[in-house]
Point group: D2
Chain length 422, copies 4
Amino acid sequence: MATNPTMGGAPEAMARYRAVRALSRAIAEPLSDADSTIQPMPDASPAKWHLAHCSWFFETFVLRDHVSGYRLFDESWAYLFNSYYEGEGERLPRARRGMLSRPSLSEVLRYRDHVDSALAEALPDLGPEALALVELGLNHEQQHQELMLMDMLATLAANPLLPAAWPARASADAGEPPEMGWIEGKEGIVAIGHDGDGFAFDCEAPRHRVFLQRHALADRPVANRDWLGFIESGGYGDPRLWTSDGWDWVRSNGVEAPLYWQRGGSAWRRFGLDGLRSLDPSEPVCHISWFEADAFARWAGARLPSEAEWESAASGLDPLGGNQLDSAGSVRPLAPPPGPGLRQMFGDLWEWTGSAFLPYPGFAAPAGTVGEYNGKFMISQMVLRGGSCATPRGHVRPSYRNFFFPHQRWMFSGLRLARDLK
Amino acid sequence: MATNPTMGGAPEAMARYRAVRALSRAIAEPLSDADSTIQPMPDASPAKWHLAHCSWFFETFVLRDHVSGYRLFDESWAYLFNSYYEGEGERLPRARRGMLSRPSLSEVLRYRDHVDSALAEALPDLGPEALALVELGLNHEQQHQELMLMDMLATLAANPLLPAAWPARASADAGEPPEMGWIEGKEGIVAIGHDGDGFAFDCEAPRHRVFLQRHALADRPVANRDWLGFIESGGYGDPRLWTSDGWDWVRSNGVEAPLYWQRGGSAWRRFGLDGLRSLDPSEPVCHISWFEADAFARWAGARLPSEAEWESAASGLDPLGGNQLDSAGSVRPLAPPPGPGLRQMFGDLWEWTGSAFLPYPGFAAPAGTVGEYNGKFMISQMVLRGGSCATPRGHVRPSYRNFFFPHQRWMFSGLRLARDLK
Amino acid sequence: MATNPTMGGAPEAMARYRAVRALSRAIAEPLSDADSTIQPMPDASPAKWHLAHCSWFFETFVLRDHVSGYRLFDESWAYLFNSYYEGEGERLPRARRGMLSRPSLSEVLRYRDHVDSALAEALPDLGPEALALVELGLNHEQQHQELMLMDMLATLAANPLLPAAWPARASADAGEPPEMGWIEGKEGIVAIGHDGDGFAFDCEAPRHRVFLQRHALADRPVANRDWLGFIESGGYGDPRLWTSDGWDWVRSNGVEAPLYWQRGGSAWRRFGLDGLRSLDPSEPVCHISWFEADAFARWAGARLPSEAEWESAASGLDPLGGNQLDSAGSVRPLAPPPGPGLRQMFGDLWEWTGSAFLPYPGFAAPAGTVGEYNGKFMISQMVLRGGSCATPRGHVRPSYRNFFFPHQRWMFSGLRLARDLK
Amino acid sequence: MATNPTMGGAPEAMARYRAVRALSRAIAEPLSDADSTIQPMPDASPAKWHLAHCSWFFETFVLRDHVSGYRLFDESWAYLFNSYYEGEGERLPRARRGMLSRPSLSEVLRYRDHVDSALAEALPDLGPEALALVELGLNHEQQHQELMLMDMLATLAANPLLPAAWPARASADAGEPPEMGWIEGKEGIVAIGHDGDGFAFDCEAPRHRVFLQRHALADRPVANRDWLGFIESGGYGDPRLWTSDGWDWVRSNGVEAPLYWQRGGSAWRRFGLDGLRSLDPSEPVCHISWFEADAFARWAGARLPSEAEWESAASGLDPLGGNQLDSAGSVRPLAPPPGPGLRQMFGDLWEWTGSAFLPYPGFAAPAGTVGEYNGKFMISQMVLRGGSCATPRGHVRPSYRNFFFPHQRWMFSGLRLARDLK
C-alpha cells in the first residue's frame, strides 16, 4: 500500500496510466494464447493471468469501490484473478492458474480495454483516496511486468525446444570483468526507509535510524567469471560453505550451477529471454538463490551487505540510471560500465542482502484489503535491493525492498559482496 | 501390437486412414491453441500432444522405419511426442506434457499434413509388415481419440468457468431406468480371446479356454438412479462396503459421488462435454472408479462380472451397435433402449470387470519397440470391457481389453452387475 | 475367517493353543523391550504390537463375545491393538505403532498370560462358533509369527550396527545350485481351492474348476547364482525386462539387488536374522518383489506360474515337509535337496505367482467383523504360494493363498519359473 | 562455540562437569529403554540418543583430539551419535534416530561412565583449548537437557495412553492473571551481544551497537486466559491476523489451539510432563509457534519485541532468577509472581521475538568443526530469548539467543508483547 501518493493532476495521471498499461501489453506481445496460459511451476503465473490480475486490481479497488455505477466486466472473474487478498474472498488456488485456457488472451485484452476506458472516464473525478489507489495500481502493475518477464523465462525454459522470446541484442565480445574494488560505507547512525517524498510501498516506511558498523561494499556485483571460480573450486560440493538449509537444498535438488545454466562440454551456456547463448564471463551472475549468494560470500571471505548498508550507500545515487527496463524486448544483465565508485547499484540484477524481510520499527499495515499487500509476507523471506534489468525504469528507489524466499532464484537476482572493517 | 492385420489393398487402406485421421481433427475443432496445450493432471494429456503423438507413431514406426528417404518433420520432436516407448529413447516426462505451448496447434496440424502426405505417397508400396503397422497406427489413433475426449473433459472441468466443448444434444425428458433383469450366462468351458479374424491388439490373444461357473449378468448397466440409492443409504461412508485400498482412497480424497457430479441443494448436476446439466436418473452412471464399482456391487448384493463372463455373453452381439462415437460432438451415455436381452454391452460406457489385466496363457509380447504397447502394463490394473460413447464405432470387439488402475475414473466408465447362481 | 474348523475336543485344542502361543514368545525372546517397540517402516509392526494384537484377537472375538463375565485386561488397549477391523472402531494409525513404548514388553506379556488363563478356563465350555474363532485365532497368530520374523529382520536391518537376532546355524559349504529341470503340469480342467477337510481361510474357498493350458514348472526355485546372472547381465538396468510400474519402482528406489543384499567389493553379502553373511549361490533367492520376479522370468524366457498351476502341482505333495518354522531361531532358505521331482514347493520361501489376489468364483466374506479378514484386500495384490522358512510348520496347505503388493519384498519371497508348452 | 571460556581450575571444572552430567541422567530416570529409544517426529530425538550424543561430543572434541592414547568406546558409534557436524563425516539421518534399539540405554549409560572416567583422569592436564571445549561441551549438554525434556514430552504425547513422566507438583488454585502493564524501554543507541565476561556461544558475539526506537514491553508474558480470548474471538479462523505462511500452516495442519491442548466439552486441558491436567488461566501460554505469537500480537494491537529491545531490558535483571530447571522432575511455566517491573524475563518460557536469527555485524564462525555449532543455522529461524522452565539454571544470559523455525512449537515457547511509543 502506498504511502504519500504523488500522482499529480488527472492529465499527468492519465499519461502515466497509459504508458504503464501499454508496456504490459508490449511485454506479452511475443506470446501466443497458449504461451500466455501455461504455468511452469506454482511460483510462476501465466502472462495472461498477470495481464488480467493487474486489471482486476484497478477494477476492484478503484472502479468497483470508488466509481458509482461501474459494472464488472465479468462477475465470475474475481475468483480467477484475485491473487492473494483474503479480504476479497475465495479464489483459484495459485497452483491452478495454468488451467485457464479460457478466457483467451484476446478476451483478457478486451478486459483490459474495458477497464482502461472506464478508468479514463472516471479519472478526472476521482478523489485523493482513489487516486492513491490508482498510483498503487500502477506500481503494482510494474511489479507484475517484472514478474511477467521472470515467468515468461521460466515458461520458455520449461519447453525442451528452448524458444527465445526476443532475438538477442548485439553485445560486445565477452571480456573479463574488472578487478573488484571496495568502497567504505558510512559508520554510525543513518536513517533508512522512505522519507516522505513520492510514492513508496508501505513496507519501506517508517523512516528510522539504524546504527552501521564499519564496513565496505564491493564496487561491482559478482560476475560470471567469479562464479566459475566458485564452481571450479568445488563450491557446490563443500558443505562447510553452506548453511544447513542451503546444503539440504543443494543436495535434494542436485544443484550444480545457477538456474538456466547448461554445461556443454567444457563450456557453459545460459538460457535467457534471448535464447540459449554462451556465458559471458564479464556479466554479473544472475538467477541465484540466497543460499548460493551466502555460500559464495563465505567462500570469498566476505559476506552479504545488510539492507541498511546497501540503502545508505545507494542514497546518493541516481535510481533512474543503470540497466533497467525501458521497453519490451530481451532483457539481460550487462557487464559493469567503466569508472570509479559503486557500479550497477540500480538495475542489472536484484542484490541479495543479509537482512530478513521484517517490519521496520513502527510499521503498521494500512487498514482494509490492500493492507495485505506486503505485511503478510514478513516472515522467512530475505530482502533484495536495487532493481534489475527487468524492473521498469522509475519503479525502484533507494528505499525499495524486494523479498524472496532463500531457495528461490527464477528472478533476476545476483549479489554484491560486503566486508567488515576493523 | 496387432495380430492378424486385415488391411485390404491400398485404396481401402487409404480411405480408412483418411477417415480416422479426419476424426481426430474434428474432435479437436472446438479447442483453441491454449485449450489444446494445458494438462489438468499427469494422467491426462493435452489434445495437441495427442494429435502430434499419433503422427509421431506413424512417422516413426512406418515412415522412418519402412520408407526410404523419408525426412523427419522435425528431429527434435521425437523427444516431445514419444509417449512411453523405452526403445525409442529419452522423452519428455509425462507430467510435463502441458509445458508445450510450442509447437503451436497449427504447427502440429502441419505436422499431421506432412505425415499424411508422406503416408499417402508411400502406401501403395508398403509391404505387409508396414501395412500391419499402419493398421496398428490407426487403432492406436482411435484409442487416442477416446483419450482426447476424456482429457478434454478433464481440462474443461479444471476451469472454474466450466465451459462446454459442444452444445448439448436434445434429449428426451429424464425418466426412470427400467427394472434390472438378469440373464443367465454360459456354464462350463468357453473360449475367449481374439480368434484370428481381423485386427486385434496383442493382449487379446491367444484365444484360450476358461471354465465358467453358473452365473448371471444384469440386463443393463447400473443407472444414475441406482447410484443415488447408494449415496442416499450412506454408501460412501460405510467402510464395510469397500476394499481397504478403496476406503483409503475415499477418505483421503473426500470422495462423495462420481467424478464430475456436483450437488446443488437437493439436486445433483453432472459436468460433461456438453456442460453442466441436471443428472438424468435413467442414464447409466459414468466416471466411477473400480473402487466405487466394487463397493456398489457389494452394497447391491452382487459382484462384478469376470472378463471371461463378459466376453462369453458379448460374443453373439453386434459390436457395431450401441451408442458409440460416430463423429465429433458432445458424447454422453444414454438411457437403455427398450427390449429384452443384454442391453448396452457395446458403447455407452466401459464396464469394470472383476478381472486383473494380466497376460493370457501363452501371451508373448511382439519383438521390438511396439512390443511395449500393452505388455508392460500388465500389473495392478483392472480390465474394462465393451467400449463407450467415446469409443469410435468399429474400434471395439468382444475380445477387446481396456485397462485402468482401480482409482482412475476420468474415462467413461460404469458397471454392470453379475451374480453367482447356485 | 475359517471355513470348516476342525479343532477337536478341549484337551487337544488346549495343547495346540499352548504350543502356538509359546512359539510367539520364543520368537520374541532375543528382543529387548526397545527392540520390540520400534517400527522401521509403516508396513512392519513392532514385535510387542504383534504379541499384543494376537491376544487382542482372542480377547475380543472369543472372550469378550463368547465368555460371559470376562473383564477386559485394559479397556484402553483395544484402540492400540486393533489392526484393521473397521467393525471394531477407531484405532491407532498403522504408521504410529512404533510410538508405544508403553505398555512395556513385560506388561504385554502379562496381557498374554491374562488372556491365556481366561481362555484355558473358558475352553471346556466353548461352543462350536467360539471354538471356530479359537482356531481362527491360532491360524491368525501363526501368520503373525511369520510377520514378526519379517518385521524383526526389517528392524535389525534398520540399525546401522546390523545386529543378529540369533547366531548363524552351521551350514554346508556354499556350492552351486543343481541344473534347473522342468516338470510338465496337468492340462485341462482341475479343481482348486480348499476342499472342505480341515481349517482354511475364507479366501481359499470355494473349491472350483479352472482350465489349465499345457505348461511346465521348474523343479526348483531360482537360486542366488541364477540371480547373480541377472544382475551381471544388466537386468536392473534394462527397461525392456520390466513392467512400466516395475521400471518406475526400480528407478525411483535405486534398486540394484534383492533386499538385504550388500555389495562388498566383488562379492555380495546378505543380511538375515543370523547377521551379515556371504551370499550362498545355491540358496534360493529371497526378498524379491513381484516386479523383480516378473522381470527375472522375462529375462529367463519364462514366466511366473499361475496360482492354479501351482496348486495343481502341489496337491499331491506333503505340506508338512520342507524347510519350515519349527522353533524359534534363525531362519533362512536352504539349498535344494537332491532328488527328482518338484523340490521346495513347501517351505523355504513364498513363490510369487502371476495371479492377482481376487475372490474365487462364489466367494463371500463371512458376516461380521472377521469378514474383514481377507476379503477387503482383494485388489492390487499378487498371490504367493507354498510358505517359507518362516512359516510355522502345519500352517500352510496346497490351497493357501498369501498376498502382497507387487513392490513389497520384506517377506521371505522368491520365485519358481513356469513355461508354456506347445 | 564458546567465546571467552571461564572454566576455573580443574577441581572447579570437575565439580561442574559432574553436576551437569548427573542432571542428564536424572532427567532420563523415569524412562524405560523403550521410552528412551523411540522418536515421535524428525525434529525430536530419543533420550538415549541425547545421552549418547553429549558423550560423543566430549569424546570427539576433547578426548580424541586432546588426550593422547584415548581409545574410543566403540568406533562404530560416531556414525550413530554425530548430530550434524559435516566435518565429522557421514552420520545416521536425523529421521532415523528412532531406529537405535541397540545400543541399549544401559550400554549408553556405560558409554557415559567410560567418557566420564577418561575425562576425570584427563582434566588436570588439559590445556586451555581443551578446557574451553569442555566448557562448550557442558553448555552443549545443558542445551540437550532442555531438548531431552521437550522430546520426552513429544514422545509421551505421541502415546494414546498419555502417560506422565513425573507426578504433578502441588499448585495453587488456578486464579486469573494480573492486568498487563507496560514498561517503557530505552531509546537510542544500546550495545547488545556478549560483553566478554564468562562463557557465551559464538552467535552472541560480537557485542555491537544498535539503535532502538521508543517502545514499551509488557510486564508479563501472555497468559492462557489471554489466549482463550484470542481463541474465543475466532483468532484461528481469521486470515487477516496471520502472515501468509502462518495462515497456510494453520489450515494445512488444522491448528485450533497451542500444542498439547485438548478441548473437553467447554473446558480445556493441557498435556505436560505431569500428565493431562486442567488449563490454568493464570499461567503463561506455552507451546506456541512464531506464527501464533505473531498473530496474537496483531490481534492484541501490539507486536513482538525485537531481540535488541528484549536484551536491553533484560540486561539489568538477574539471569539466575525465575522458574528454571534445578533438578529433574516435572517442569511447567508458572503464574507470574506479584510485584512491579518486568516479570518472568528469565525462565518459565522462551519468548519469541520479531528478530530473525542472523549473524551479528562482525560475526565469524570459529574455524574447524565446532564452527558448525550455530553459524550454519543462520537463516529462516527466529530468535527466542530468556530461557524456560526447562532451561538449566545458570545456562541462560541476557545475550543468549535461542532460535527455531516459525512453525515449531514443541519447545517451551511463549510470548511477551511490545508496543511502539510515539
